[in-house]
């Protein structure tokens, strides 16, 4: 793993954005997340890694209460965003999701035009006052998602008509357009080619200046390239969480070590 430029990354931020304590998630009778404690820092990229089915997506979806939509899903414990419990009765998940955006594992653009896909969030949250501002937001979001050059001539074409990788970048643009404080990305690059992946990784690095980013990935290289902190999940447990450099070069737990060296997965 000598190509990973691990040591170049200094972790600057120390403010905690999200704090999770004793989080349990049940899907009916099955216990998907067990006693997870984690502190996600502001202006930092945090990577979730772990074998398939270990609960990375499940935990990620707890952070913006997307699990509320699954009837059998039960979340216990405390998750605080800037010190406020997001599972408090007074919290409206809609307001929360405006601040904690999400990019899903499978690209899911709306069956509307490319423009409308990106403009939808700013419109419903009243972030713009007029069409010119909206145009600006749409363009900058598409630029950030490295999609602008490909679609600038066909903003009115349907978003579903794009290729899989373009659709995923459209979804990233859609999430970025609402300027969330935290961006949750569930394997955002699984449908992308290496060039688009590099562009998205660059975007993630840029986003770090303003937002806190949490990314689930199956690519250890990607985790090492983009993140400052890495969490390793296994069978619903958070096995190890620390600076990315330390996790990849000097894991404390034998399970982490066997996973990153390719022995469990």
């Amino acid at each position: 793993m000598n190509n990973m430029r691990l040591t170049e990354r200094a972790v600057q931020a120390t403010d905690t954005k999200i704090t999770a304590r004793k989080v349990q998630v049940h899907y009916g009778a099955s216990h998907a997340i067990k006693d997870v404690d984690i502190d996600i820092l502001d202006k930092t990229v945090t990577a979730f890694i772990g074998p398939s089915g270990c609960g990375k997506s499940t935990f990620l979806r707890c952070l913006n209460r997307m699990n509320d939509t699954i009837a059998i899903c039960r979340v216990e414990g405390a998750i605080l965003l800037d010190g406020e419990d997001i599972y408090d009765k007074k919290v409206d998940p809609v307001q929360l999701r405006a601040r904690v955006g999400m990019v899903f594992q499978k690209p899911n653009p709306f069956p509307k035009s490319i423009y409308d896909n990106v403009a939808y969030g700013p419109k419903i949250h009243g972030l713009v006052r007029n069409k010119a501002e909206l145009d600006e937001v749409v363009e900058s979001a598409l630029r950030k998602a490295a999609l602008w050059n490909e679609v600038k001539d066909r903003l009115n074409a349907p978003g579903t008509g794009l290729s899989g990788g373009q659709q995923q970048r459209l979804c990233i643009a859609r999430a970025v357009a609402t300027s969330p404080e935290v961006l949750l990305m569930d394997e955002p690059c699984s449908a992308l080619d290496p060039i688009a992946t590099a562009q998205v990784e660059e975007l993630i690095d840029e986003l770090r200046a303003n937002f806190s980013v949490v990314i689930v990935t199956h690519s250890m290289q990607q985790a090492a390239r983009v993140s400052q902190r890495t969490a390793f999940f296994h069978l619903g447990n958070l096995v190890e969480f620390g600076e990315t450099g330390q996790i990849f070069t000097n894991p404390r737990d034998p399970r982490t070590e066997s996973y990153i060296t390719g022995r469990i997965g």
Partner: protein, 443 residues
């Protein structure tokens, strides 16, 4: 070491036994499929040809073109040409004028020597004088002139030209005699009596047992249209709102399960039960007028609701969950998600369901019989909105009604009405297809 023996490579050009068996099975299945489709098509062809064969005649009617002298002395003795005064001249007076005109022709051409004026007059429909009278009252300046007017021939004469009445049957018939039919034949040879397109079939109200030639679907079509509009305005919004609530908002518990089972059951309840309900609830309890399109529409709405709710829920359910997640993920509220993303994708399915439900309601007879829409209605219902409380008929009820009558002329009318009903259904179903195409989008 034992190894599984690999079969010797075989040529791709010869099919092995398993492949042959599979291909034979596929072929058999194709034949069954084609046979099934053929049976369906055959049934359709038989149905359509029998309906068209017996019903198309209703759109053509025997008419006599007669030069009628509108005698001023008889019609407007005071000479003021005032419709109020002229209304004193009854249809009897007009009937005499028409008979006189026909008699003049018959005598001039010597078509039926020795036939009495009364018998000649029987060739003409008893409904004809009323039509002439309405025309003159609407345009008094015609009085005193001679106009060429198309009068309806009587039902028997019409039946004679359509093959329903023969010389033999006429000999036994008190309403027509073979001599009169011979006269009709001669008039046809003279070009005065002919089969012409009959707009009255679509516009006239129903007529009595003795005047099949003037019976039309006007009141029934109007009644059916009133009902369909009301059903659409009530059943679609209520049905869609109920479906959205049940599908998207309602908690999944025993109570909603119960509702779900009941909706499914209601869709299967025989329609006559809705008629009994309507009779009890709307007429006996709420005191609404019998035979009115409003009551008919309310009953049909109750019947159509579950038939809209079920496909609407299915359409909402078929919207991929990823779309909902996407909307929720950018911070849309539940209502925004539904109205901005889910509903637009479900619209084609909802429209198809609604139109099919409506088409079923259009063809429904049994519940309407129970709320009195089977009554003989001769007057058009008024203009909406008050008109929906006036007595009216409906197309399927009119069909039922006509098949009950003794005169075989009404069989032709009934088949004609079935054609009209089928055209309505065809239009509605095409509309469903067009709307579905229009709103269908990929995702």
């Amino acid at each position: 070491m034992t190894m599984v023996e690999t079969p010797a490579p075989r040529s791709l050009y010869t099919a092995d036994a398993r492949t042959k068996a599979r291909n034979a099975a596929e072929k058999r299945f194709r034949i069954y499929g084609i046979a099934a489709v053929a049976i369906g098509l055959l049934a359709l062809v038989v149905l359509l040809s029998s309906v068209l064969g017996s019903g198309l005649g209703a759109f053509r009617q025997s008419v006599l073109s007669l030069p009628i002298t509108l005698d001023a002395k008889a019609l407007d003795p005071k000479g003021h040409r005032d419709p109020a005064e002229m209304a004193k001249a009854t249809t009897v007076t007009y009937g005499k004028l028409i008979t006189k005109a026909l008699e003049a022709v018959v005598i001039e051409k010597n078509l039926a020597p020795g036939m009495k004026s009364k018998q000649i007059g029987e060739l003409i429909s008893k409904e004809a004088p009323a039509g002439l009278r309405d025309m003159v009252l609407a345009n008094p300046s015609l009085v005193g002139t001679t106009i060429t007017y198309d009068v309806l021939a009587s039902g028997r004469v019409d039946g004679f030209f359509k093959g329903r009445v023969t010389m033999e049957s006429a000999a036994l018939d008190s309403n027509i005699s073979p001599e009169q039919l011979q006269l009709a034949d001669k008039l046809r040879a003279e070009g005065m009596l002919k089969l012409a397109f009959n707009p009255g079939f679509l516009t006239n109200p129903d007529a009595s047992e003795l005047r099949p030639e003037s019976a039309g679907l006007g009141v029934a079509i109007l009644g059916s249209i009133y009902m369909m509009v009301i059903v659409l305005c009530l059943a679609l919004p209520i049905g869609v709102a109920a479906s959205i609530y049940l599908e998207e908002f309602a908690p999944k518990n025993r109570f909603t399960d119960l509702i779900e089972v009941n909706v499914a059951n209601l869709a299967a309840v025989p329609s006559i039960v809705y008629g009994i309900l309507g009779l009890a609830a709307f007429i006996n309890f709420a005191g609404m007028p019998q035979s009115s399109p409003l009551v008919g529409a309310l009953v049909l709405t109750l019947m159509t609701l579950p038939r809209i709710i079920i496909p609407t829920r299915a359409a909402l359910n078929a919207v991929p969950p990823s779309i909902r997640e996407a909307a929720l993920g950018v911070g849309a509220s539940k209502t925004q998600t539904i109205f901005h993303h889910v509903l637009p994708l479900a619209v084609p399915g909802i429209l198809t369901g609604a139109i099919i439900g409506l088409a079923q309601a259009l063809g429904e007879t049994a519940p309407l019989l129970l709320i009195g829409m089977v009554a003989f209605v001769k007057d058009y219902p008024g203009a909406p909105p008050e008109g929906v409380l006036d007595p009216a008929s409906a197309i399927p009820v009119q069909i039922y009604n006509w098949t009950q009558r003794a005169d075989p002329a009404f069989v032709e009318r009934a088949s004609g009405a079935i054609i009209v009903l089928l055209v309505f259904l065809l239009v509605m179903n095409s509309l469903a297809v067009i709307l579905r195409r229009k709103f269908e989008r990929r995702w």
